[in-house]
């Protein structure tokens, strides 16, 4: 069962992994992705300018609902032994942790694929919006076509 948490405060990756493993000995693979706030704008005309902070706005009820749905979908696609998704909201600074996806499975392929799937779907479905603050002012981050394409490759058709 993948647990979903949305919170303003930071998380401790090592503590989360310990909690996921508990005293189990059936887990053969534990894949972790941590998303961080970068210190530099990397898109459109503002390329290369430093950012001083990032605020994540979210739609609480829908974010929880969508992340739960994405987690349940991953559980139907891969033989998983547990997992944790944490997404932060509020004002964050460069270097801060934004998101954690940790997935446990007996074997590495399922864990790698499920973690990648969860991030790809999270980025295109979970209702969070980033606003960057920098020397050039503040602006809302635009959605990227590459993220849509990354999510699309997991669609079943």
């Amino acid at each position: 069962m993948i647990e979903v948490r949305i919170q303003p405060h930071d998380f401790n990756v090592a503590a989360e992994l310990d909690r996921l493993r508990d005293k189990r000995t059936d887990i053969g693979a534990l894949v972790t992705f941590t998303g961080l706030v970068r210190d530099m704008l990397m898109h459109d005309r503002t390329d290369g300018q430093p950012i001083t902070a990032m605020t994540l706005e979210h739609y609480p009820a829908m974010a929880q609902r969508q992340l739960e749905a994405i987690a349940r979908e991953a559980e139907t696609r891969w033989p998983l032994l547990g997992g944790t998704i944490i997404h932060r909201h509020g004002r964050l600074m460069p270097g801060d942790q934004i998101v954690l996806v940790a997935i446990a499975s007996a074997h590495r392929h399922a864990a790698f694929e499920a973690a990648m799937f969860l991030m790809d779907w999270l980025k295109t479905k979970a209702p969070f919006w980033k606003k960057e603050e920098g020397t050039a002012g503040t602006h809302w981050v635009a959605a990227r076509a590459e993220d849509d394409a990354a999510a699309e490759r997991w669609s079943r058709g």
Binding site: E57, Y59, A63, H87, I98, V99, K123, K125, A126, K130
Partner: protein, 83 residues
């Protein structure tokens, strides 16, 4: 019905939520957006490019054909950028 706005949609409209009475004849997301666009220049500006706006009905994504009712929670926002 309850309308919720997020990100630059919220900033442009100038509020994060409002309760509105569902107008007669408005039964779908598409019709609701058409009516909203007629409420003022900021609404019209937000909805000028329909493809820039996502709609959720009761916390699930909905297309223009999706039905709406007076008890729904309907959210308008730009494509998401979390993660």
């Amino acid at each position: 019905m309850k309308l919720l706005y997020f990100s630059w949609v919220r900033e442009r409209i100038g509020r994060d939520e409002e309760d509105v009475a569902l107008p007669d004849g408005v039964t779908s997301v598409g019709a609701l957006l058409g009516w909203l666009a007629s409420r003022g220049p900021d609404y019209a500006a937000v909805l000028e490019n329909r493809s820039a706006i996502r709609v959720a009905v009761n916390q699930d994504y909905a297309d223009d054909a999706h039905p709406v009712s007076s008890t729904d929670e309907i959210a308008l926002f730009p494509p998401v950028t979390g993660g």
